[in-house]
């Protein structure tokens, strides 16, 4: 079995983001960047399948500026075999990303594509489902557990009411929840080894797909600030305020 894992470079989840004053977006200059957190779970799950002898090869792919390669390099350091970097200097919407990934899938012919369920920058939660649609493949979204068995894969999904289990035919797209596994850290020797693993590069615009953005971002602003309230000195005062002032109990 062959696995393709898609990873995205985003502002690190621990960074308090800053909205640009001109409203054109979020400041990414001199800000710590990392792999999108659930994408780490996607890589981890692929590596686990390889360790279990179920997968032969793991290919990690990213789409983005020159530095996005770092996310592929990190995937190689935790166990991916080779990388693909589709270069693009500008933002591409999830639909365009899904079209590019479809091209990569047609070339690589994986049995499973793993992605994070959502990127923590644009919070779209679309790419995996869109890729599955374009390929006419089934989708296992928000996966918190998977069991592979021959030509099918059982996926336990985190849904609002609890857990849902579905069985989908391979090939399939699976989007990973943070609860799927505990991503490992790369060891120093593996980081060194990863530097020798190959990363193939393409230009997004050479792939022959329409990646024109259809959504124009008019402005980005800070959410209305919630003004901090008062400190109360005792539980009795708190309950009194909730009852008489806020009238919520």
């Amino acid at each position: 079995m062959k696995i393709l894992v898609a990873v995205k470079r985003v502002i690190d989840y621990n960074v308090q983001i800053r909205v640009k004053e001109d409203g054109s977006g979020v400041n990414t200059e001199n800000v710590k960047m990392s792999t999108n957190p659930p994408d780490d779970n996607a890589i981890e799950e692929a590596v686990k399948l390889k360790e279990a002898g179920k997968a032969k090869e793991i290919v990690a792919v990213t789409i983005g500026e020159e530095k996005a390669q770092e996310t592929v390099r990190k995937a190689l350091a935790v166990g991916a075999d080779r990388g693909i970097h589709v270069k693009s200097e500008s933002y591409i919407e999830p639909l365009g990303i899904a079209k590019i990934l479809k091209k990569i899938v047609e070339k690589e012919k994986p049995d499973i594509v793993f992605l994070g369920k959502q990127a923590i920058d644009d919070d779209c939660n679309q790419t995996g489902q869109m890729l599955a649609a374009l390929l006419s493949w089934p989708q296992g979204t928000f996966a918190s557990k998977i069991e592979h068995k021959d030509k099918v894969i059982k996926v336990t999904r985190e849904v609002d009411e609890g857990l849902e289990t579905i069985e989908i035919n391979l090939p399939a797209v699976i989007t990973c929840d943070l609860r799927l596994n505990e991503p490992r850290f790369a060891s120093l020797p593996n980081i060194m080894k990863a530097k020798k693993k190959p990363i193939e590069q393409f230009n997004a615009k050479d792939l022959g797909v329409d990646i024109t953005n259809r959504i124009h971002q008019i402005k980005v602003e800070e959410p209305p600030k919630r003004k901090g309230g008062v400190k109360v000195s005792s539980v009795a005062e708190l309950v009194s305020k909730l009852k008489n002032e806020a009238k919520v109990i």
């Binding site: 502002i11 308090q16 983001i17 979020v26 919407e93 999830p94 639909l95 899904a98 923590i120 919070d123 939660n125 679309q126 995996g128 489902q129 869109m130 890729l131 649609a133 374009l134 493949w137 089934p138 989708q139 979204t141 928000f142 999904r157 985190e158 849904v159 609002d160 009411e161 857990l163 289990t165 579905i166 069985e167 989908i168 929840d177 609860r179 953005n213 259809r214 959504i215 124009h216 971002q217 008019i218 402005k219 980005v220 602003e221 800070e222 959410p223 919630r226 901090g228 309230g229 008062v230 400190k231 109360v232 539980v235 009795a236 708190l238 909730l242 009852k243 806020a246 919520v248 109990i249």
Partner: protein, 317 residues
């Protein structure tokens, strides 16, 4: 500008968030049609027909739709969508699962998690876990939109009499199969719709200590939430998690106990009407957004809180 809205239900009754999505849709246009797709779900079609804002129901049944598999729903929605300018669903795990699949098949760039509708083309949506708001405008002829239900009021659900049109099921690809659903049953109100939520964080120190939270929840008829730290530490199940990777809640009263206020948690609760923070660290970021902050040891404050509540006899159920 006719709108197609996809109803969420369990084949016997309508899920409440559909009503919030209907309100959102009504801000775009009054011509709202609702697709009720499922198996033996006639009661749901009738329920939606009573919603005054709804003009027409498209009702379709098949055993293949019983469990709402995205692979089976998408071709149907694509087929039905032809005359509509907007396709709308709730941005919960129901809508998030199938809507991007529909969008891609229609070659439309989806707009996720809309919290405000400026006009038929322009929408406000949170990015970076709600740390920024983006105003976006779609140039697609048709729009696929998911609505954050807690940002809109629920539409009134009685008094209307929309027509119900039966339509044919489409072919399904047979590439996915439903196995089971394990719903978390609780005596308490559901986290996503509760009027009061009380949440515990890492400061609770153990799962056992959540009984302090539970007894107050019982008293206030509140839902019990938790921060990711408490869930990761194994104090409580992950279906209680409030935050960017858990549930987004907008109750009238949110009580955060032993929660420092990490960005990811704030993203899930900061739109609550009244926020109370109980934390022994006076510098905890949660205090900067709390309407009422109590700097105290929660193990002393919670029993006192319960005592004070017991003294009141006017708790609203």
């Amino acid at each position: 500008m006719p709108i197609l809205l996809i109803a969420e239900h369990d084949n016997s009754s309508l899920k409440a968030f559909t009503l919030n999505a209907i309100t959102a849709a009504s801000k775009i246009d009054q011509e709202i049609n609702v697709l009720v797709v499922g198996n033996k779900c006639e009661s749901v079609a009738k329920e939606v027909a009573a919603v005054p804002l709804v003009k027409k129901i498209l009702h379709v049944e098949s055993p293949n739709y019983e469990n709402f598999l995205a692979e089976n729903l998408a071709p149907l929605i694509v087929k039905v969508s032809e005359p509509y300018t907007h396709i709308i669903a709730s941005a919960n795990t129901f809508g998030k699962n199938f809507m991007p699949r529909v969008s891609a098949l229609l070659d439309i760039s989806q707009i996720s998690d809309v919290i405000k509708i400026n006009n038929s083309e322009e929408f406000l949506r949170p990015i970076y876990a709600g740390n920024a708001f983006a105003t976006v405008k779609s140039s697609d002829k048709k729009k696929c939109i998911t609505i954050r239900p807690t940002s809109f009021d629920a539409a009134p659900k009685s008094g209307g009499s929309a027509s119900i049109e039966k339509i044919e099921a489409t072919e399904t690809p047979n590439i996915s199969k439903f196995i089971k659903k394990e719903e978390v049953k609780s005596e308490r109100p559901e986290l996503g719709t509760a009027r009061i939520v009380i949440s515990g964080g890492r400061g609770m120190q153990s799962g056992e200590n959540f009984k302090l939270i539970n007894s107050i929840a019982d008293k206030l008829n509140a839902a019990v939430g938790a921060s990711r730290a408490a869930v990761d530490a194994g104090y409580i199940g992950n279906d209680h998690q409030v935050g960017q990777t858990g549930k987004v809640v907008v109750p009238d009263l949110y009580i955060a106990v032993g929660i420092s206020g990490a960005i990811q948690h704030l993203a899930g609760m900061k739109e609550s009407k009244i926020i109370v923070a109980i934390n022994k660290d006076g510098e905890a970021p949660i205090f900067s957004i709390a309407d009422y902050g109590l700097e105290a040891d929660l193990f002393e404050a919670l029993p006192q809180f319960l005592d004070e509540l017991n003294k009141l006899n006017t708790i609203q159920k």
